[in-house]
Subunit: 346 residues, 2 copies
């Protein structure tokens, strides 16, 4: 049942005009007679013509397709990111190549090469671990706009969109202060990372901003894990002047903190406020009492796509470092999520 591909020339023939006339109506040009336009459109419908974007792209050597490659599509964060990208990209009349690298740098090399061969006019990428600036060099040299999301790469001369850890910490601590907390701890994380430094600085700044003292004893590092959270909160509760709330390095730590609190017969959220950076994401559904600071993945995807489209339109791939918005989010109740999903698959 494979029908012959019908081309502009076919419909030109059927409509009794030349193919360039057809081309004009296809692009909605205003300089074509209304009557002929109607005839052409009729022929298009009758013959079931479909525009061949590949040929058009070849001719004008530019495509309406962008690539998005993520390191773990299994992680719902990246799925949401892709949804955000898809939304704006679709609206702009583009389509997206999506590829998942599964954190494999070799896979990434392949898919990026493939996308380049396919002539993507821009690329959004959450690079696999270990990606180096050199890996992206061929792309930027050929003038293809690239925007990095989630993870930055030092020395890569491209735009990037990462979360604003400092602003997030400030927002979180303000949130706690507004609720009357006077002694707020910062728990978990290794102090030798840039991420830790940013979050910690936000924590300090927010306290200073509120005219509150910064007590070093309330800053307790640990492994950024659930177990680390347990030991950190235990140490905090040994203090003479115990905290009543904690900002945790990430949500894994926050879980551990909740565990530790329960071991002491304290109810997280009620007896002791705990708030964590949402690095782990999926865990959102697991601890109802937990408040998290997280970037909105879809929003990030949208901003990334907008940034990319702007660069594509501009022609010049002017690198532009942007710090993503970080929102303070109180987690969604489990019931609501379940209902939403149920409907989706009905």
């Amino acid at each position: 049942m494979v029908k012959e591909r019908v081309t502009v020339i076919d419909i030109a023939h059927a409509a009794g005009v030349s193919k360039s006339t057809v081309s004009l109506v296809l692009q909605g040009s205003s300089l074509v007679n209304e009557a002929t336009r109607a005839k052409v459109n009729a022929a298009i419908r009758d013959l079931g013509y479909v525009y061949n974007r590949g040929a058009a792209n070849l001719r004008q050597s530019k495509s309406k397709i962008i690539g998005i490659v993520v390191n773990d599509l299994t992680n719902s964060f990246f799925a949401e990111l892709a949804v955000g990208v898809d939304a704006v990209v679709q609206s702009a009349g583009f389509v997206q190549f999506l590829a998942n690298t599964g954190e494999k740098i070799e896979r990434q090399r392949e898919v990026v090469a493939s996308m380049r061969e396919h002539g993507v006019s821009g690329l959004i990428i959450s690079p696999a671990r270990g990606t180096e600036a050199a890996d992206l060099a061929p792309l930027v040299e050929s003038g293809i706009p690239v925007v990095l999301v989630v993870r930055d790469i030092a020395g890569a001369n491209v735009s990037s969109l990462i979360s604003d850890n400092h602003a997030g910490a400030v927002a979180a601590v303000r949130h706690l202060i507004e609720r009357g907390h006077q002694r707020i701890a910062f728990l978990g994380g290794f102090s030798d990372t840039a991420v830790f430094e940013a979050r910690m600085r936000g924590y300090r700044d927010a306290l200073v901003e509120a005219g509150m003292p910064v007590s070093e004893s309330l800053i307790i590092g640990s492994a950024p894990s659930r177990a680390g959270g347990v030991t950190a909160v235990e140490q905090a509760m040994m203090l003479a002047d115990r905290p009543t709330a904690a900002l945790c390095f990430n949500d894994a730590v926050a879980f551990g903190v909740c565990d530790g609190l329960r071991a002491r017969r304290l109810e997280p959220g009620a007896d002791f406020a705990v708030i964590g950076f949402d690095d782990v994401i999926e865990a959102k559904t697991a601890v109802p009492a937990l408040t998290t600071v997280s970037v909105d993945p879809q929003g990030m995807g949208q901003r990334a796509a907008e940034l990319l489209l702007k660069q594509i339109k501009a022609g010049k791939a002017e690198p532009e470092a942007i710090v993503g918005s970080v929102r303070l989010v109180v987690r969604q109740s489990c019931g609501a999520a379940v209902e939403r999903k149920r409907e989706a698959l009905a």
Copy 2:
């Protein structure tokens, strides 16, 4: 910094051969002299040549790209599905267009049209609600292989891949019987749906297979919701001869059953086995004690992609109805999931 596109003719010139020779080495043809091949490859590397797949596609009027459109990429089920598709598609040297319809049928029309214009050589689609056979007709008529996943469409003359509800129910009930349960209830769901009918039939068949009686009083319908689960289990526990286990119509019902059990001071999993079809998916993380029957989304994606590729290779789009494999899965512990996610974003 936009460099001129270097073409086969450039490298042919540089290597001192003709462009068709270059074309041959590009396709790894064996009928080209080893020495010239080396020269050509050197030129390719030196000039930074990138293959233009668009032009090649135009020439041979066939592309190495497949489309995948899902109704809700926000749902991790579909994200995993896309991962599965991506895996096999990448390995076959294809790339995938991914589009999310968000259950909007208009959006779906647009993206399907767009993909057609881009010349996808096949399409995997989880149709938006309300999609009709007519919506897919143009595709199949033009000879593009289509495989439907998750949701089937009556009258659409295409392959489809849906879960085997009957087999899943049989597997679940066998699972319970193996664990020594003698009185197993079937809880929740409206009996007028095809899905209910299939699951119920599997339940009955498994009991019969084991030589156990099918007691109508143990079959209790309800709304396929959490609340429905509560009422269903309450009714079940009023029976003179109480069940010790239940197969639930879906996981929302199963949650409700767990709720109802706890209200009666019974611990789900320990005092009473509950197992549910995993329609809701994300909820997997919420109830540790719950066992679910679910299709493996990645596996489904892989099978869909393989099926599609087979049809593409065959040239003929021979529709082929396939019932997806349904696996019995004991849900993953929360801790493991958290660790996995933490690493991913580190």
